[in-house]
């Protein structure tokens, strides 16, 4: 079942051609977007969110053209968590998560239930009244994720959610995304950490220079050949990935 569909998408910010003829269909489950820096992962997420208007190609949400939807209608369908998103004010955790309901048309009570669900899913209900500035990096990431979850959209776009987090926190974040994916949400997540991508992704899309290099289950995408082709890395005798020029 296709929830979000891209056909021959090309373009990027400021009329740069970062994405080159991308066609993809996304359904329920967790899709990891992987690839080197500058591959176009963030540009692809922003294009799907409508933050970047593509130069060519079409984006369809269900059976509707994305560009025909209003900002609010789009926000009711897709939630986006930017990479290292700023928080400009020392907002209380509950107030911040509540912002996730900005585009909702539901009652106050339903909004509050969605906020509580999101806070429970991210295990942050214990510090709902605390200002975000008093939290640790891992807690802060979970609060920002809860804001995106609170929107209860069928599609969730997440950009590098595990950046700068310790391994336990990384697994916590990925676990939350995985449970949403299992509940039928289409989660598309840009990731640099390949072991995490392999562990949690139902499907991986390997991007390089704005093009799709591989697309499929982790086992078929994360191969010695794809590492070598894209990152210039090879497995050494111990099984570690290494730059080929440094090997004896």
């Amino acid at each position: 079942m296709s929830m979000l569909s891209l056909k021959a998408i090309s373009g990027g910010p400021d009329h740069k051609r970062v994405l080159d003829n991308i066609s993809l269909d996304f359904g329920p489950g967790l899709t990891g977007l992987i690839g080197p820096n500058g591959a176009g992962k963030t540009t692809l997420l922003k294009t799907m969110m409508g933050l970047i208007v593509p130069e060519a190609g079409t984006l369809t949400l269900g059976n509707k053209d994305l560009s025909a939807l209003s900002l609010r209608q789009r926000a009711q369908q897709i939630a986006y968590l930017p990479q290292n998103g700023p928080v400009h004010w020392a907002m209380r955790v509950h107030d911040l998560v509540r912002l996730g309901r900005f585009a909702s048309t539901t009652t106050r009570q339903e909004d509050e239930m969605a906020v509580m669900d999101a806070m429970r899913a991210c295990a942050i209900e214990g510090f709902a009244a605390r200002p975000i500035t008093t939290l640790s990096g891992g807690e802060r990431s979970r609060v920002l994720l809860a804001r995106a979850l609170a929107a209860q959209t069928p599609i969730l776009l997440v950009d590098e959610p595990t950046n700068a987090l310790d391994p336990a926190q990384q697994h916590r974040i990925m676990g939350i995304l995985q449970s949403r994916a299992k509940a039928g949400v289409c989660v598309i997540c840009a990731l640099h950490d390949l072991p995490l991508a392999a562990r949690y992704g139902d499907r991986l899309v390997f991007l390089d220079k704005g093009q799709i290099k591989e697309d499929g289950p982790p086992g078929t995408v994360l191969t010695a050949t794809s590492f070598h082709k894209t990152y210039g890395l090879v497995f050494d005798k111990r099984g570690y990935l290494n730059d080929e020029s440094t090997l004896p």
């Binding site: 009711q76 968590l81 930017p82 400009h88 004010w89 020392a90 107030d95 912002l99 585009a103 500035t133």
Partner: protein, 328 residues
Amino acid sequence: MSRFFIIAGVGLILLILISLMLGDYPLGPAQLLDALFQHGDPARRLIVWQIRLPRTLLAIMVGAGLGASGAALQGYLRNPLADPGIVGISASAGLGAVIALYFGLTAISIWVLPGAAMAGAGLAAAVLMVLARGRASITSVILGGVALSSLSVALTALLMNLSPNPWALSEIAYWLMGSVADRSFAELAFAAPLILGGIAVLMLSAPALNALGLGEEAAHSMGVSLHRTGQLVVFGTLLCVGAGVAVAGAIGFIGLVAPHLVRPFFGARPGALILPSALIGGILLLAADILARTLSGPGTPLYLGVTTALLGAPFFLYLVIKNRRAFP
């Protein structure tokens, strides 16, 4: 939250009473009540109804407009140091008024000066709205505002420089220092609807200002139109600050300080600060006016803009030192 409104409300009522009793001809509480209900000495009634009441209400109105627009601008620009001065609307309104004073147009009608100030503010707002169009970054609005403000200040200085005589120069200089002295209900009737309308427009932007606290991209993805939010904030500020400068001259620091005073009670969401900042802005400006009147000597009035800056700047420094760890 409700405790804040009760304390602030009681404080405002007390200040209004003090403001009505205080002056060259002091009134006791009983005399004030008599005069308010149109009893007793006609001279006292005249003083209360024609001189002190319009001045008091105007100070509250102008302060409320400055406080509300300060809160909205800090939220929109996501900068706790923002105030109506930073985006150039105050300075442009001041320039409009100074042009009217310089060319002696104020003799034509009492409405020329406020009209010219509103026109100056409107011109600045139009430039800011063009800058806020499309997907332009909010930084371009700040930078454009700073440029507008500098240009207006420079042109004002030029007009003062070219002043034909010392009397014209002093008229401009005193006007720029801000005052609500000798204002009538006519000025109040001009400014109050504009300022109240401005606060209502700013309130429309409140939910979007909260969302903007998570950055432009996150806010845009959540359904916030940056363009519409910018227009609401600029138009609301134009109404509040343009009308304020038009009737009371340039008054600084209220817009900067008011949101910082209410933040501890209402959390950090900028949208939730607009109304409380309006209330505190009104209280602050009335208190500053009472102080200016108390400290003024015979023949040497202390101007309101001077008092607000003298009180506001050290107080603001104290707030910054006290809260330096709370800024994210």
